[in-house]
Protein backbone atom coordinates (compact mmCIF):
# COMPACT_ATOMS: atom_id res chain seq x y z
CA UNK A 1 0.00 0.00 0.00
CA UNK A 2 1.26 3.49 -0.80
CA UNK A 3 2.27 5.65 2.11
CA UNK A 4 0.51 9.01 2.45
CA UNK A 5 2.69 12.03 1.70
CA UNK A 6 1.15 13.88 4.61
CA UNK A 7 0.24 11.77 7.61
CA UNK A 8 -1.27 13.41 10.67
CA UNK A 9 -2.39 11.16 13.49
CA UNK A 10 -4.02 12.23 16.77
CA UNK A 11 -2.39 15.64 16.60
CA UNK A 12 -2.94 17.95 19.56
CA UNK A 13 -1.69 21.55 19.71
CA UNK A 14 -2.16 23.94 22.61
CA UNK A 15 -1.39 27.63 22.94
CA UNK A 16 -0.96 27.96 26.70
CA UNK A 17 -4.10 26.47 28.20
CA UNK A 18 -6.14 26.79 25.01
CA UNK A 19 -6.40 23.69 22.86
CA UNK A 20 -6.35 24.70 19.21
CA UNK A 21 -6.23 21.26 17.64
CA UNK A 22 -7.41 18.10 19.37
CA UNK A 23 -6.75 14.56 18.15
CA UNK A 24 -6.70 15.62 14.53
CA UNK A 25 -6.13 12.86 11.98
CA UNK A 26 -5.66 13.50 8.29
CA UNK A 27 -3.92 11.76 5.38
CA UNK A 28 -3.02 13.19 2.00
CA UNK A 29 -2.04 10.55 -0.57
CA UNK A 30 0.38 11.12 -3.49
CA UNK A 31 -1.32 13.12 -6.24
CA UNK A 32 -4.31 13.99 -4.13
CA UNK A 33 -5.88 17.42 -3.70
CA UNK A 34 -7.35 17.97 -0.25
CA UNK A 35 -9.03 21.03 1.17
CA UNK A 36 -9.47 21.91 4.81
CA UNK A 37 -12.51 24.06 5.45
CA UNK A 38 -13.72 25.56 8.68
CA UNK A 39 -14.37 28.80 10.51
CA UNK A 40 -11.79 31.41 11.50
CA UNK A 41 -9.90 30.38 14.61
CA UNK A 42 -10.69 26.73 13.93
CA UNK A 43 -6.97 25.88 13.74
CA UNK A 44 -6.55 25.62 9.97
CA UNK A 45 -3.43 27.76 9.72
CA UNK A 46 -1.99 26.13 12.84
CA UNK A 47 -2.36 22.71 11.23
CA UNK A 48 -0.51 23.93 8.14
CA UNK A 49 2.26 25.45 10.27
CA UNK A 50 2.74 22.16 12.12
CA UNK A 51 3.01 20.30 8.83
CA UNK A 52 5.51 22.90 7.59
CA UNK A 53 7.61 22.49 10.73
CA UNK A 54 7.05 26.10 11.76
CA UNK A 55 5.08 25.25 14.90
CA UNK A 56 5.73 22.62 17.59
CA UNK A 57 2.97 20.29 18.64
CA UNK A 58 2.08 18.75 21.99
CA UNK A 59 0.95 15.29 21.10
CA UNK A 60 0.43 12.92 18.19
CA UNK A 61 2.37 11.97 15.09
CA UNK A 62 3.06 14.03 11.97
CA UNK A 63 5.01 12.72 8.97
CA UNK A 64 5.60 14.66 5.77
CA UNK A 65 7.04 12.58 2.92
CA UNK A 66 7.96 10.03 5.59
CA UNK A 67 9.95 12.53 7.65
CA UNK A 68 9.30 14.67 10.72
CA UNK A 69 8.11 18.22 9.92
CA UNK A 70 11.04 20.57 9.39
CA UNK A 71 13.26 17.70 8.27
CA UNK A 72 11.88 17.38 4.77
CA UNK A 73 14.50 17.77 2.03
CA UNK A 74 14.85 21.40 0.90
CA UNK A 75 12.42 22.18 -1.88
CA UNK A 76 10.19 19.11 -1.54
CA UNK A 77 7.54 21.09 0.28
CA UNK A 78 6.20 24.21 -1.45
CA UNK A 79 4.26 26.75 0.59
CA UNK A 80 2.03 29.64 -0.36
CA UNK A 81 0.92 31.68 2.67
CA UNK A 82 -2.18 33.84 2.91
CA UNK A 83 -2.34 36.72 0.47
CA UNK A 84 -0.02 39.46 1.64
CA UNK A 85 -0.69 42.71 -0.17
CA UNK A 86 2.55 44.20 1.08
CA UNK A 87 4.47 41.80 -1.18
CA UNK A 88 3.19 43.60 -4.23
CA UNK A 89 4.87 46.85 -3.16
CA UNK A 90 8.29 45.24 -3.32
CA UNK A 91 10.41 46.34 -6.29
CA UNK A 92 10.89 43.04 -8.07
CA UNK A 93 10.12 41.54 -11.47
CA UNK A 94 7.92 38.49 -11.84
CA UNK A 95 10.76 36.27 -13.06
CA UNK A 96 12.92 37.13 -10.02
CA UNK A 97 10.09 36.09 -7.72
CA UNK A 98 9.86 32.73 -9.48
CA UNK A 99 13.65 32.31 -9.32
CA UNK A 100 13.42 32.63 -5.52
CA UNK A 101 11.76 29.23 -5.62
CA UNK A 102 15.15 27.80 -6.67
CA UNK A 103 16.96 29.09 -3.57
CA UNK A 104 16.25 26.14 -1.25
CA UNK A 105 17.61 23.65 -3.78
CA UNK A 106 20.59 25.87 -4.64
CA UNK A 107 21.62 26.20 -1.01
CA UNK A 108 23.61 29.06 0.54
CA UNK A 109 26.11 31.08 -1.50
CA UNK A 110 25.16 29.67 -4.93
CA UNK A 111 23.53 31.94 -7.51
CA UNK A 112 20.88 30.75 -9.97
CA UNK A 113 22.34 29.63 -13.32
CA UNK A 114 20.97 29.05 -16.86
CA UNK A 115 19.26 25.80 -15.82
CA UNK A 116 17.38 27.66 -13.08
CA UNK A 117 16.35 30.38 -15.52
CA UNK A 118 15.01 27.74 -17.89
CA UNK A 119 13.03 26.09 -15.13
CA UNK A 120 11.65 29.46 -14.00
CA UNK A 121 10.50 30.10 -17.57
CA UNK A 122 8.76 26.70 -17.63
CA UNK A 123 7.00 27.42 -14.34
CA UNK A 124 5.81 30.77 -15.69
CA UNK A 125 4.44 28.97 -18.71
CA UNK A 126 2.55 26.44 -16.59
CA UNK A 127 0.71 29.23 -14.79
CA UNK A 128 0.17 31.09 -18.08
CA UNK A 129 2.33 34.08 -17.20
CA UNK A 130 5.20 33.75 -19.70
CA UNK A 131 4.35 37.11 -21.22
CA UNK A 132 4.70 38.86 -17.87
CA UNK A 133 8.17 37.61 -16.86
CA UNK A 134 9.70 41.07 -17.05
CA UNK A 135 6.75 42.85 -15.44
CA UNK A 136 7.22 44.46 -12.02
CA UNK A 137 5.03 42.80 -9.37
CA UNK A 138 3.64 46.26 -8.61
CA UNK A 139 1.86 46.34 -11.95
CA UNK A 140 0.23 42.88 -11.71
CA UNK A 141 -3.35 42.27 -10.60
CA UNK A 142 -4.11 40.17 -7.51
CA UNK A 143 -4.88 37.12 -9.62
CA UNK A 144 -1.73 37.48 -11.71
CA UNK A 145 0.40 37.94 -8.61
CA UNK A 146 -1.10 34.82 -7.09
CA UNK A 147 -0.17 32.84 -10.20
CA UNK A 148 3.39 34.15 -9.96
CA UNK A 149 3.53 32.90 -6.37
CA UNK A 150 2.31 29.48 -7.50
CA UNK A 151 5.08 29.50 -10.11
CA UNK A 152 7.58 30.30 -7.35
CA UNK A 153 6.34 27.32 -5.34
CA UNK A 154 6.58 25.14 -8.47
CA UNK A 155 10.15 26.25 -9.14
CA UNK A 156 11.08 24.41 -5.95
CA UNK A 157 10.05 21.22 -7.78
CA UNK A 158 7.97 20.20 -4.77
CA UNK A 159 6.17 16.93 -4.20
CA UNK A 160 3.70 18.56 -1.86
CA UNK A 161 2.17 22.01 -2.19
CA UNK A 162 0.61 23.71 0.81
CA UNK A 163 -1.68 26.68 0.23
CA UNK A 164 -3.31 28.91 2.85
CA UNK A 165 -6.47 30.62 1.59
CA UNK A 166 -5.03 30.92 -1.90
CA UNK A 167 -8.11 32.41 -3.53
CA UNK A 168 -8.75 35.27 -1.09
CA UNK A 169 -9.04 38.53 -2.97
CA UNK A 170 -9.53 36.89 -6.37
CA UNK A 171 -12.69 37.50 -8.34
CA UNK A 172 -14.84 34.57 -9.47
CA UNK A 173 -13.14 34.22 -12.87
CA UNK A 174 -9.62 34.35 -11.45
CA UNK A 175 -10.64 31.84 -8.79
CA UNK A 176 -11.86 29.35 -11.35
CA UNK A 177 -8.73 29.88 -13.37
CA UNK A 178 -6.59 29.43 -10.30
CA UNK A 179 -8.19 26.14 -9.22
CA UNK A 180 -7.95 24.81 -12.74
CA UNK A 181 -4.20 25.53 -12.71
CA UNK A 182 -3.96 23.54 -9.48
CA UNK A 183 -5.89 20.64 -10.98
CA UNK A 184 -3.53 20.55 -13.98
CA UNK A 185 -0.56 20.38 -11.62
CA UNK A 186 -2.08 17.50 -9.74
CA UNK A 187 -2.95 15.64 -12.93
CA UNK A 188 0.23 16.29 -14.92
CA UNK A 189 2.87 16.30 -12.23
CA UNK A 190 1.35 14.11 -9.54
CA UNK A 191 1.81 16.80 -6.91
CA UNK A 192 -0.15 16.46 -3.68
CA UNK A 193 -1.97 19.62 -2.72
CA UNK A 194 -3.25 20.54 0.71
CA UNK A 195 -5.09 23.82 0.98
CA UNK A 196 -7.07 25.77 3.48
CA UNK A 197 -10.20 27.58 2.45
CA UNK A 198 -13.25 29.30 3.82
CA UNK A 199 -15.14 28.63 0.72
CA UNK A 200 -16.66 25.20 1.10
CA UNK A 201 -18.89 25.68 -1.95
CA UNK A 202 -16.21 26.57 -4.48
CA UNK A 203 -13.46 24.18 -3.46
CA UNK A 204 -15.74 21.16 -3.46
CA UNK A 205 -15.89 21.48 -7.26
CA UNK A 206 -12.18 20.90 -7.60
CA UNK A 207 -10.70 18.88 -4.76
CA UNK A 208 -10.62 15.13 -4.15
CA UNK A 209 -11.30 15.26 -0.44
CA UNK A 210 -12.63 17.76 2.05
CA UNK A 211 -11.88 17.90 5.76
CA UNK A 212 -14.00 20.08 8.05
CA UNK A 213 -11.88 21.41 10.87
CA UNK A 214 -12.92 23.21 13.99
CA UNK A 215 -10.50 22.05 16.67
CA UNK A 216 -11.44 18.47 15.71
CA UNK A 217 -11.72 17.05 12.26
CA UNK A 218 -15.49 16.65 12.00
CA UNK A 219 -15.67 15.21 8.57
CA UNK A 220 -13.18 13.77 6.18
CA UNK A 221 -14.61 12.53 2.94
CA UNK A 222 -14.77 12.66 -0.82
CA UNK A 223 -15.68 15.97 -2.36
CA UNK A 224 -19.16 15.97 -3.81
CA UNK A 225 -20.52 13.60 -1.20
CA UNK A 226 -23.12 15.38 0.81
CA UNK A 227 -21.69 16.68 4.05
CA UNK A 228 -24.08 15.78 6.86
CA UNK A 229 -26.03 18.83 8.09
CA UNK A 230 -25.10 18.22 11.72
CA UNK A 231 -21.39 18.32 10.75
CA UNK A 232 -21.81 21.68 9.08
CA UNK A 233 -23.61 22.94 12.13
CA UNK A 234 -20.95 21.60 14.48
CA UNK A 235 -18.16 23.14 12.44
CA UNK A 236 -19.63 26.48 11.49
CA UNK A 237 -22.14 26.95 14.32
CA UNK A 238 -25.89 26.63 14.37
CA UNK A 239 -26.73 30.14 13.30
CA UNK A 240 -25.15 29.91 9.91
CA UNK A 241 -26.67 28.92 6.67
CA UNK A 242 -24.27 27.37 4.24
CA UNK A 243 -24.88 27.44 0.58
CA UNK A 244 -23.09 24.56 -1.05
CA UNK A 245 -23.01 24.94 -4.76
CA UNK A 246 -21.32 22.26 -6.81
CA UNK A 247 -22.23 19.75 -9.46
CA UNK A 248 -24.35 17.89 -6.93
CA UNK A 249 -26.12 21.05 -5.85
CA UNK A 250 -29.61 19.97 -4.85
CA UNK A 251 -31.27 23.28 -5.64
CA UNK A 252 -29.84 23.41 -9.16
CA UNK A 253 -30.86 19.83 -9.94
CA UNK A 254 -34.40 20.52 -8.82
CA UNK A 255 -34.56 23.66 -10.95
CA UNK A 256 -33.43 21.69 -13.99
CA UNK A 257 -36.11 19.12 -13.33
CA UNK A 258 -38.78 21.83 -13.37
CA UNK A 259 -37.66 23.20 -16.73
Amino acid sequence: MTEPWIHVHNLTVRYGSKTVLEKVTLDVMPGEMVSIVGPNGGGKTTLLKVILGMKDFNDGQVLVLGKRPGHVKAGELGYLPQVNRHLRDFPIRARDVVLMGRFPRLGLLKRPGPADLKLAAECLEIVGMSGSAEMPMQSLSGGQAQRIFIARALAMEPKVLILDEPSTGLDAVSQEDFYETLMRLRDNRGISILMVSHDIGVVSNYVDKIACLNRHIHYHGRAGDEIPVQVIQEVFGRNIQILVHNKNCVTCRENHRHE
Binding site: Y79, I92, D96, M100, P136, Q138
Partner: protein, 264 residues
Protein backbone atom coordinates in the same frame (compact mmCIF):
# COMPACT_ATOMS: atom_id res chain seq x y z
CA UNK B 1 39.98 72.67 -5.81
CA UNK B 2 43.51 71.31 -6.25
CA UNK B 3 44.62 73.20 -3.20
CA UNK B 4 41.72 71.75 -1.24
CA UNK B 5 42.54 68.20 -2.30
CA UNK B 6 46.16 68.56 -1.28
CA UNK B 7 45.30 68.67 2.42
CA UNK B 8 45.74 65.36 4.20
CA UNK B 9 42.59 65.78 6.30
CA UNK B 10 40.51 66.48 3.20
CA UNK B 11 41.84 63.32 1.56
CA UNK B 12 41.00 61.29 4.67
CA UNK B 13 37.50 62.76 4.75
CA UNK B 14 36.91 62.09 1.06
CA UNK B 15 38.18 58.51 1.03
CA UNK B 16 36.38 57.60 4.27
CA UNK B 17 33.18 59.32 3.18
CA UNK B 18 33.15 57.72 -0.26
CA UNK B 19 33.62 54.20 1.12
CA UNK B 20 30.85 54.75 3.65
CA UNK B 21 28.53 56.25 1.00
CA UNK B 22 28.82 53.20 -1.26
CA UNK B 23 28.08 50.77 1.57
CA UNK B 24 25.22 52.94 2.87
CA UNK B 25 23.67 53.03 -0.60
CA UNK B 26 23.82 49.22 -0.74
CA UNK B 27 22.54 48.49 2.77
CA UNK B 28 19.86 51.19 2.63
CA UNK B 29 17.61 48.93 0.56
CA UNK B 30 17.44 46.30 3.29
CA UNK B 31 16.88 48.86 6.04
CA UNK B 32 14.02 50.53 4.20
CA UNK B 33 12.33 47.36 2.92
CA UNK B 34 12.57 45.58 6.28
CA UNK B 35 11.20 48.70 8.03
CA UNK B 36 14.32 49.04 10.15
CA UNK B 37 14.68 52.83 9.88
CA UNK B 38 13.73 53.43 13.47
CA UNK B 39 15.97 50.58 14.65
CA UNK B 40 18.87 52.35 12.96
CA UNK B 41 17.88 55.54 14.81
CA UNK B 42 17.98 53.56 18.05
CA UNK B 43 21.37 52.01 17.36
CA UNK B 44 22.82 55.38 16.33
CA UNK B 45 21.59 57.05 19.49
CA UNK B 46 22.96 54.20 21.58
CA UNK B 47 26.32 55.44 20.30
CA UNK B 48 25.80 58.53 22.44
CA UNK B 49 25.74 56.31 25.52
CA UNK B 50 28.80 54.49 24.16
CA UNK B 51 30.80 57.66 23.58
CA UNK B 52 29.86 58.99 27.02
CA UNK B 53 30.92 55.70 28.60
CA UNK B 54 34.29 55.98 26.84
CA UNK B 55 34.74 59.49 28.26
CA UNK B 56 33.78 58.29 31.73
CA UNK B 57 36.15 55.32 31.70
CA UNK B 58 38.93 57.12 29.84
CA UNK B 59 38.85 54.50 27.06
CA UNK B 60 38.77 54.90 23.30
CA UNK B 61 35.23 55.99 22.38
CA UNK B 62 35.38 53.59 19.40
CA UNK B 63 35.82 50.61 21.67
CA UNK B 64 33.06 51.53 24.09
CA UNK B 65 30.73 52.61 21.27
CA UNK B 66 31.13 49.34 19.35
CA UNK B 67 30.45 47.32 22.49
CA UNK B 68 27.56 49.54 23.55
CA UNK B 69 25.86 49.69 20.14
CA UNK B 70 26.20 45.95 19.47
CA UNK B 71 24.87 45.17 22.95
CA UNK B 72 21.88 47.46 22.43
CA UNK B 73 21.19 46.11 18.93
CA UNK B 74 21.24 42.50 20.17
CA UNK B 75 19.17 43.38 23.23
CA UNK B 76 16.50 44.99 21.04
CA UNK B 77 16.49 41.92 18.78
CA UNK B 78 16.15 39.63 21.79
CA UNK B 79 13.24 41.63 23.20
CA UNK B 80 11.53 41.62 19.82
CA UNK B 81 11.83 37.84 19.50
CA UNK B 82 11.03 36.93 23.10
CA UNK B 83 8.04 39.20 23.53
CA UNK B 84 6.79 39.03 19.95
CA UNK B 85 7.02 42.83 20.01
CA UNK B 86 7.88 44.95 17.02
CA UNK B 87 11.05 46.92 16.45
CA UNK B 88 9.29 50.26 16.78
CA UNK B 89 8.13 49.66 20.32
CA UNK B 90 11.35 48.17 21.69
CA UNK B 91 13.54 50.72 19.91
CA UNK B 92 11.39 53.52 21.36
CA UNK B 93 12.38 52.32 24.83
CA UNK B 94 16.09 51.79 24.17
CA UNK B 95 16.44 54.99 22.17
CA UNK B 96 15.58 57.08 25.23
CA UNK B 97 17.25 54.75 27.74
CA UNK B 98 20.66 54.88 26.04
CA UNK B 99 20.50 58.67 25.71
CA UNK B 100 19.61 58.83 29.41
CA UNK B 101 22.59 56.64 30.29
CA UNK B 102 24.81 58.85 28.13
CA UNK B 103 23.70 61.96 30.00
CA UNK B 104 24.31 60.22 33.35
CA UNK B 105 27.81 59.09 32.26
CA UNK B 106 28.67 62.61 31.10
CA UNK B 107 27.40 64.23 34.29
CA UNK B 108 29.49 61.83 36.39
CA UNK B 109 32.65 62.34 34.34
CA UNK B 110 32.37 66.16 34.23
CA UNK B 111 34.84 66.27 31.33
CA UNK B 112 33.43 69.14 29.33
CA UNK B 113 36.44 69.52 27.09
CA UNK B 114 35.42 66.50 25.04
CA UNK B 115 33.85 67.31 21.67
CA UNK B 116 30.46 65.63 22.14
CA UNK B 117 28.88 67.93 19.54
CA UNK B 118 31.34 66.47 17.01
CA UNK B 119 29.85 63.04 17.67
CA UNK B 120 26.27 64.25 17.61
CA UNK B 121 26.50 66.05 14.28
CA UNK B 122 29.69 64.65 12.79
CA UNK B 123 33.04 66.30 12.25
CA UNK B 124 34.25 64.97 8.96
CA UNK B 125 37.43 67.01 8.87
CA UNK B 126 38.56 65.47 12.15
CA UNK B 127 38.90 62.04 10.50
CA UNK B 128 42.42 60.88 11.27
CA UNK B 129 44.44 57.98 9.90
CA UNK B 130 43.29 55.54 12.60
CA UNK B 131 39.64 56.40 11.81
CA UNK B 132 40.29 55.85 8.13
CA UNK B 133 41.89 52.46 8.78
CA UNK B 134 38.88 51.38 10.86
CA UNK B 135 36.54 52.48 8.05
CA UNK B 136 38.63 50.77 5.35
CA UNK B 137 38.56 47.47 7.23
CA UNK B 138 35.00 47.45 8.59
CA UNK B 139 32.96 48.89 5.72
CA UNK B 140 34.13 46.30 3.14
CA UNK B 141 33.46 43.54 5.70
CA UNK B 142 29.89 44.76 6.13
CA UNK B 143 29.44 45.03 2.35
CA UNK B 144 30.91 41.55 1.92
CA UNK B 145 28.33 40.08 4.29
CA UNK B 146 25.47 41.62 2.31
CA UNK B 147 27.07 40.51 -0.97
CA UNK B 148 27.70 36.94 0.18
CA UNK B 149 24.17 36.32 1.45
CA UNK B 150 22.49 38.66 -1.01
CA UNK B 151 20.10 36.08 -2.43
CA UNK B 152 18.97 34.90 1.01
CA UNK B 153 18.65 38.43 2.39
CA UNK B 154 16.51 39.49 -0.58
CA UNK B 155 14.32 36.39 -0.18
CA UNK B 156 13.74 36.99 3.53
CA UNK B 157 13.15 40.71 2.95
CA UNK B 158 10.57 39.92 0.29
CA UNK B 159 8.65 37.13 1.98
CA UNK B 160 9.90 36.09 5.39
CA UNK B 161 7.34 33.34 5.96
CA UNK B 162 8.13 31.54 2.73
CA UNK B 163 11.87 31.98 3.33
CA UNK B 164 11.49 30.29 6.73
CA UNK B 165 9.41 27.46 5.28
CA UNK B 166 11.98 26.97 2.51
CA UNK B 167 14.72 26.37 5.06
CA UNK B 168 16.61 29.67 4.67
CA UNK B 169 18.29 30.37 8.07
CA UNK B 170 16.31 33.56 8.56
CA UNK B 171 16.97 34.10 12.27
CA UNK B 172 20.78 33.81 12.18
CA UNK B 173 20.90 35.94 9.03
CA UNK B 174 18.74 38.58 10.70
CA UNK B 175 21.03 38.63 13.74
CA UNK B 176 24.14 39.05 11.60
CA UNK B 177 22.45 41.65 9.46
CA UNK B 178 21.66 43.77 12.51
CA UNK B 179 25.22 43.32 13.80
CA UNK B 180 26.50 44.49 10.39
CA UNK B 181 24.18 47.52 10.41
CA UNK B 182 25.30 48.41 13.94
CA UNK B 183 28.98 48.22 12.91
CA UNK B 184 28.32 50.40 9.89
CA UNK B 185 26.59 53.00 12.05
CA UNK B 186 29.43 53.04 14.59
CA UNK B 187 32.17 53.65 12.02
CA UNK B 188 30.20 56.38 10.26
CA UNK B 189 29.26 58.40 13.32
CA UNK B 190 32.39 60.54 13.25
CA UNK B 191 31.67 61.46 9.63
CA UNK B 192 27.91 62.02 9.65
CA UNK B 193 27.02 62.23 13.34
CA UNK B 194 24.75 60.27 15.68
CA UNK B 195 21.69 62.38 14.96
CA UNK B 196 22.16 62.62 11.19
CA UNK B 197 23.32 59.11 10.29
CA UNK B 198 19.81 57.66 9.97
CA UNK B 199 18.92 60.07 7.17
CA UNK B 200 21.93 58.85 5.24
CA UNK B 201 20.87 55.23 5.83
CA UNK B 202 17.26 55.75 4.78
CA UNK B 203 17.48 58.34 2.01
CA UNK B 204 19.23 56.35 -0.76
CA UNK B 205 16.68 53.54 -1.03
CA UNK B 206 13.73 55.85 -0.34
CA UNK B 207 14.83 58.01 -3.26
CA UNK B 208 15.53 55.05 -5.56
CA UNK B 209 12.18 53.39 -4.75
CA UNK B 210 10.42 56.31 -6.36
CA UNK B 211 12.14 55.62 -9.67
CA UNK B 212 13.02 51.90 -9.88
CA UNK B 213 10.89 48.79 -10.13
CA UNK B 214 13.51 46.13 -9.50
CA UNK B 215 15.58 45.68 -6.37
CA UNK B 216 18.83 45.68 -8.31
CA UNK B 217 17.83 49.04 -9.75
CA UNK B 218 16.99 50.36 -6.29
CA UNK B 219 20.38 49.28 -4.95
CA UNK B 220 22.29 50.69 -7.96
CA UNK B 221 20.50 54.03 -7.93
CA UNK B 222 20.75 54.11 -4.11
CA UNK B 223 24.55 53.77 -4.25
CA UNK B 224 24.76 56.45 -6.94
CA UNK B 225 22.49 58.75 -4.92
CA UNK B 226 24.49 58.43 -1.72
CA UNK B 227 27.81 59.00 -3.51
CA UNK B 228 26.42 62.07 -5.27
CA UNK B 229 24.92 63.64 -2.14
CA UNK B 230 28.11 62.93 -0.21
CA UNK B 231 30.40 64.53 -2.80
CA UNK B 232 28.11 67.46 -3.53
CA UNK B 233 27.37 68.04 0.15
CA UNK B 234 31.03 67.79 1.06
CA UNK B 235 32.19 70.32 -1.54
CA UNK B 236 29.30 72.69 -0.77
CA UNK B 237 30.10 72.55 2.91
CA UNK B 238 33.79 73.28 2.20
CA UNK B 239 32.99 76.12 -0.20
CA UNK B 240 30.47 77.84 2.07
CA UNK B 241 32.02 76.80 5.37
CA UNK B 242 29.02 74.75 6.53
CA UNK B 243 28.96 71.59 8.68
CA UNK B 244 29.43 68.66 6.26
CA UNK B 245 27.05 66.08 7.78
CA UNK B 246 24.19 68.58 7.98
CA UNK B 247 24.81 69.81 4.43
CA UNK B 248 24.80 66.26 3.02
CA UNK B 249 21.58 65.34 4.80
CA UNK B 250 19.80 68.57 3.84
CA UNK B 251 20.85 68.22 0.22
CA UNK B 252 19.79 64.55 0.12
CA UNK B 253 16.39 65.37 1.59
CA UNK B 254 15.89 68.18 -0.94
CA UNK B 255 16.66 65.79 -3.83
CA UNK B 256 14.39 63.15 -2.31
CA UNK B 257 11.54 65.65 -2.21
CA UNK B 258 11.69 66.42 -5.94
CA UNK B 259 8.19 65.48 -7.02
CA UNK B 260 7.91 62.52 -9.33
CA UNK B 261 4.97 60.36 -10.19
CA UNK B 262 5.78 56.98 -11.63
CA UNK B 263 3.68 55.76 -14.49
CA UNK B 264 2.37 52.28 -13.84
Amino acid sequence: MNEMLSFGFIQHALIGGLIISVVFGFVSFFIVEQRLSFLSVGIAHAAFGGVALGILLGLSPYLTTVVFCLAVALLILRQVRQNRADYDMVTGIFFAATMALGIIFLSISKDYTFDIIGYLFGSILAIGKPDLIIICVTAPLVAFFFFLFFKELVAMTFDREVAVSAGIPVKPLETWMIVAIALLIVISIKIIGIILVTAFLVLPASFALKYCQSYRGVIGVGILFSVVIFLAGFFLSYRFDLPAGATIVTLGTAIYLIPYRRQR
